[in-house]
């Protein structure tokens, strides 16, 4: 089976290379007779990838430890569900998953109306780029990162899945990110193809649905990752600005910029070149994310370690950027007379351009901050790094500005000036009034106050637009977009308050002792122990009251799983839309002394509520491509 799976990947790579060569030849000779063959080739290559993926899945299911990968990430005690999700627990498997998603995206795109709207040369150019991308991933999978290595001699028992990954949040967080990463390959290939052949219709229309769908996956992956970090890692937060987290944020920021500038192009035909660049850069940052995680270029809390793919990923990113520059030059003559100027700054396009600046600035800051230990070596003998305070100081004001843009943009006109004066009055009123109320409630930090006021104003705008403008309710695109922005406003509210106004306290308590934090009184009742074959649990039981009234019971746990020396914390919370009490049992002794980490997180659940809305609402915006009357 190992050999079959491996050769299927090898065959897929050869087919992709042959297809790319055929597409290149067709473009060179201006002879477009063999498109059907290239399309069938892609189907065949995809079938090979599916076959390998099925073999790996079956091996995981049967715990076939003759596969090194299966032995590394599962054991016989692991429930079936978690064994199957071990597919993406390691590097080789997650790259195979990425490849599988890429192939499936390619297959579905090839039967979509968007693909059929392209001219024959553009289709060939699209396959040229797309098949090269696929061949690159297959090269990694057949070379440095092969998931089908055979264990010689076979091992009797596997090493088991990391307990941190045995959590619903972690099961879906990585594949969602990979699906997002994979999906953004299509807009990038379409951008290059359309520009290279001088396609009349903008690629932004053909790429719209794929870009939105990929964005949904990426957003959902990031939000789930934050939730997992909060509920499973037990340090009391959801975002630590660790390199691994930043790696997923950078593509999100760039793709958000791209999706918004693409709207400008579809409506006004401006920014054509910008969009080609942004679509490709989005794809490059997706690879950058994997590079940062896998290459060991920066020290991270997460010990992913080097996996031999760092060099190839770096080369591929540089190669893609060179291809982008060459394509922009080669295609420029087609577009010289087609470019429309951008309307004024005080307009919807103007605001969307500012949004793109903000997103690109944020991504540049996060990128530089992450690589600062490497960059600072240029002038400092010892590497200098940046702490979370740096990102909070630089990024949070920019995010607050983004929310303010979201509040005011819907009231602007597409050409110039304000479209809806009454709405503007209401939004300004909500901004000032909301800010005054928050100030009265004791929110005095300028950035938190501004962000809070901006998110109240953004919610007021969305409510106003829904009530006053029929198109906002009836047109699917607008409905989805306004709902995403409502979600963003809720997330901003949560981030603005749960970060700076979080209360933290650590204590060592023995049964009967109490502690107080933010008006809550916590009484440590007892330490319970529980043991079975797979896990040993110690659990602290804590009664929580506020003003003498019972609020709930916290029961944080320490678990020691069979096969893992390290204990793992199971966090306990008392869920609330206001102040959420959060407890981690950091350590426990035989004498029942429990070291506890308690925090009170204001409004934190609005992040998950708003985040969920941001992931679901864009589905309403997906739509069939409208054929222009040509």
């Amino acid at each position: 089976m190992h050999v079959t799976a491996y050769f299927a990947l090898l065959a897929a790579m050869i087919i992709c290379l042959a297809g790319a060569a055929a597409a290149l030849f067709a473009l060179w000779r201006n002879d477009y007779g063999r498109l059907a063959m290239i399309e069938k080739g892609h189907l065949l290559a995809s079938a090979c990838v599916v076959l390998s993926s099925v073999i790996l899945t079956v091996a995981l299911w049967k715990r076939d430890f003759s596969f090194v990968y299966v032995a590394e990430y599962t054991d016989t005690l692991l429930p079936l569900f978690y064994a199957l999700t071990a597919f993406w627990a390691g590097q080789a498997g997650s790259l195979l998953f990425w490849m599988l998603t890429l192939a499936l995206f390619g297959v579905f795109f090839a039967v979509s109306p968007a693909y059929r709207s392209l001219s024959a040369p553009t289709r060939h150019a699209y396959w040229l780029f797309f098949l090269v991308v696929e061949a690159f991933f297959l090269l990694l999978l057949t070379g440095p990162s092969n998931p089908f290595l055979e264990a010689v001699p076979p091992v009797p028992e596997g090493r088991g899945l990391n307990p941190l990954l045995r959590n619903p949040g972690m099961i879906f967080h990585p594949p969602l990110l990979f699906m997002g990463y994979a999906g953004f390959a299509i807009p990038a290939c379409l951008a290059l193809a359309g520009w290279l052949t001088g396609e009349r219709a903008s690629f932004a229309a053909a790429a719209r649905n794929t870009a939105i769908l990929s964005w949904i996956f990426l957003t959902a992956g990031i939000i789930l990752g934050g939730w997992w970090s909060y509920m499973e890692l037990g340090w009391g937060g959801y975002w630590a600005w660790d390199p691994v987290e930043n790696a997923s944020l950078i593509p999100w920021l760039v793709s958000t910029a791209f999706i918004h500038t693409a709207i400008v192009e579809r409506r006004t035909k401006a920014l054509a070149k910008t969009n080609v660049a942004l679509a490709v850069v989005t794809f490059v940052t997706c690879i950058l994310g994997t590079y940062l995680v896998r290459s060991g270029v920066v020290e991270s809390l997460h010990a992913f370690g080097e996996g031999g793919v760092g060099g190839p990923l770096l080369l591929f990113m540089l190669f893609t950027l060179v291809v982008l520059a060459a394509t922009l030059l080669a295609g420029a003559p087609f577009f010289a007379d087609r470019v429309k100027p951008l309307s004024g700054l005080m307009s919807v396009p103007g605001f969307l351009v500012i949004l793109a600046w903000l997103m690109l600035a944020l991504s540049a800051v996060v990128f530089l901050g992450t690589l600062w230990p490497v960059i600072s070596k240029l002038w400092s003998a010892n590497p200098v790094g940046l702490d979370a305070g740096f990102y909070n100081r630089v990024c949070l004001p920019l995010f607050a500005l983004v929310t303010a843009l979201v509040a005011f943009c819907p009231l602007m006109s597409w050409s110039e000036g304000v479209r809806d004066k009454a709405g503007l009055g209401l939004t300004v009123g909500a901004f000032v009034g909301g800010g005054a109320i928050l100030y009265g409630l004791g929110i005095h930090l300028p950035v938190a106050l501004f962000a809070g006021a901006a998110s109240i104003a953004a919610m007021a705008t969305v409510a106003y637009v829904f009530v006053r403008q029929r198109h906002a309710r009836s047109r699917a695109g607008a409905l989805g977009a306004y709902s995403v922005h409502l979600g963003l406003a809720l997330v901003t509210l949560g981030v603005a308050f749960s970060g700076p106004y979080q209360l933290n306290q650590e204590a060592v308590l023995t049964p009967g002792k109490t502690m107080e934090i933010g008006g809550f009184k916590l009484t440590f009742k007892d330490l319970e122990f529980e043991e079975n074959k797979a896990v040993a649990i110690s659990r602290a039981v804590i009664d929580v009251t506020r003003d003498g009234k019972p609020v709930g019971v916290l029961a944080p746990e320490r678990r020691i799983y069979t096969g893992f020396e390290q204990p793992f914390a199971e966090v306990s919370t008392i869920p609330s839309l206001g102040d959420e009490v959060y407890a981690t049992l950091v350590s426990a002794t035989e004498k029942k002394a429990a070291s506890l980490k308690i925090s009170v997180n204001p409004l934190i659940n609005w992040i998950w509520i708003g985040g969920t809305l941001m992931c679901l609402a864009p589905f309403a915006s997906l739509r069939r491509l409208r054929r222009k009357g040509e």
Binding site: Q91, G307, F390, R393, V394, E506, T510, V586, S595
Partner: protein, 137 residues
């Protein structure tokens, strides 16, 4: 539509924007930087330069001094590669269960110039995951 160029407006806005961003970056880089060092690198520097640093190292077998039922621990931190290079670390706070001799830890804090010990405000043990440790060869 009037045929005027909108470029100057965008340039003014961009200048303002980059100015603001520059200020944020400048202040952030001034106050939120810390040396990221291995123990051997830290020892090569003057203590007064190390008022803010993040050290990477391994917890030594001997010399772990920990009150039984209270917070905090002091221990000797070894360089990852050269075990002879060591620094004494004082940590106040809840000690994680994962802390034990031989594990890789990251401490944040600064060197106390008087005693030469490293006063740590945070102590993190490296994520124990085994995502991929092989292929280092």
């Amino acid at each position: 539509m009037a045929k005027k160029s909108n470029t100057p407006m965008y340039l003014v806005a961009l200048t303002l924007f980059l100015g603001g961003l520059g200020y944020l970056l400048y202040s952030g880089l001034g106050e939120n930087t810390a040396y990221f060092l291995n123990v051997s690198e830290a020892l090569a520097m003057q203590p007064k330069e190390l008022s803010k640093a993040r050290l990477f190292g391994t917890v030594a077998e001997d010399g772990i001094d920990r009150p039984a039922d209270a917070m905090g621990v002091s221990f000797t931190l070894l360089d990852k590669d050269q075990a002879a290079k060591t620094i004494r670390v004082d940590f106040k706070g809840v000690v994680p269960d994962t802390f034990k001799p031989g594990v890789e830890v990251i401490v944040e804090g600064g060197v106390n110039p008087a005693s030469g010990t490293f006063a740590a405000s945070t102590l993190m043990t490296k994520c124990p995951s085994k995502y991929q440790k092989e292929n280092r060869g």
